[in-house]
Amino acid sequence: MKVWLLHHRDAALLAWRRLFVVPLNSLLFVIAIGVALALPAGGQMLLANARQLTGAVSATPQISIFMAANADRAAANEIGSRLGKAAGVRHARFVPREDTLSRMKANPGLRDAIEVLPGNPFPDAFVVSVDDERPESMERLAAEFRRWAGVEHVQLDSAWVRRLEALIGLGRNAVILLGALLGAGLVAICFSIIRMQVLVHRAEIEVSGLLGATENFVRRPFIYHGVLLGLGGGIVALLIVTAATLWLRAPLGDLARLYDLTLNLQPLGAIDSALLLAAAGGLGWLGATISLGQHLDR
């Protein structure tokens, strides 16, 4: 066990030193790997942050009913009463126009604009949750509400959340596809680097074998070389994604506020970062292993 650990330590140190034999080459390879990994890692970061948007809004389908501006409170009460009896309505919450005005005034970005308006421009409204959340059922209910007297506008509130979730699902698949393609690229880069290393160290490989080195002893430094390149690329990718996060945080936050949303862009979390580094090291290992299988046994 002790000998095994000693061999691993020596192989890792040897691989580390080999990285610095031609440091510029190693640096460029690591940057190439890092940039390739930064694309799927950045995509994952954006997807994780997009969850903030969908999480802020209930994904439960709801129907908003807006009364006509000239409809009085009695008309609103009448609608409330009809909603209470309507088939398919699970719950209806009344939102008085005064509450809406207060909420909008609390928004610093809107307060000034609202102050200059004469009176209260907002209508009374109802937020309705339904028993059957299938789109066709909800559309049917919405169509019925539109026919009621005093109702100005009916809106299916969750539609955009569903669209966003569908986009996130598409984005997730795109990240997986991108990750697979660029991961294959990383394997190819490591394959090529280890092939060159085998050629450079051919004499050492031959002599080691003649002096009693096992196959594993000969392979280990090359495997560590691949893993170190992958890990280095993973670290570069993390730095790129973190830098991009910090750079984009303020402008994206401002953009989200324009849509009355809060978005505080966060870098990759600890688990995602650990997964990225593990995947990078693993792909480096894979590239090195395939390369050794092709070139060392000859």
Partner: protein
Amino acid sequence: MIRFDRVAKRYPPGVDALSEVSFEVAEREMVLVGGHSGAGKSTLLKLVAAIEKSTSGAVLVGGQNLGGLSRAALPFLRRRIGMVFQDQKLLFDRNAFQNVMLPLSIAGFPPREATKRVHAALDKVGLGKRENALPAMLSGGEQQRLAIARAVVGRPSLLLADEPTAHLDAETANDVARIFHDFHQVGVTLLIATYAHDLFPGARRLQLDHGRLQA
């Protein structure tokens, strides 16, 4: 220690390097293998070190039949044998100390013990003060002595040497031969392929001619 029983080695496309070779080398014996260039001396040593496999016949080293040796067992056999190669096979990007350290690193010696052994081996061949020198900075004789130090640092019971005094001047060849004698004195079995029999007085001689052992 070594037994060849009707050993033949044929290289493609049908060149017989060794034919019907049978002999034995006892423990602590020093045996010289002579013969003209191409007689099969190097092939014979390679068969003992399991660098090559015989085409027919049996090669036994330390009682172990090398014909039945698995690929996994091969490295452990080689660790028990020290070999000085004809072309030395030194690593030119490593200094003398690192070259001699390599077999011990392979065998997994603890660093402190390995360092002591390397210093002892370099001292033994007179390179104690040149441990930081790269092989390219050493003379031909020093390179040969460095190769010997690497071969003996693991304290093998069997030492093989392929033309260890070739291309050396008379004085340096004598120095190298003296080192082999010293190892023989401490009980190491030696099998040396050489033209220079006179440098190794008292050693038993095997003579090869076109791959056949002469009586």
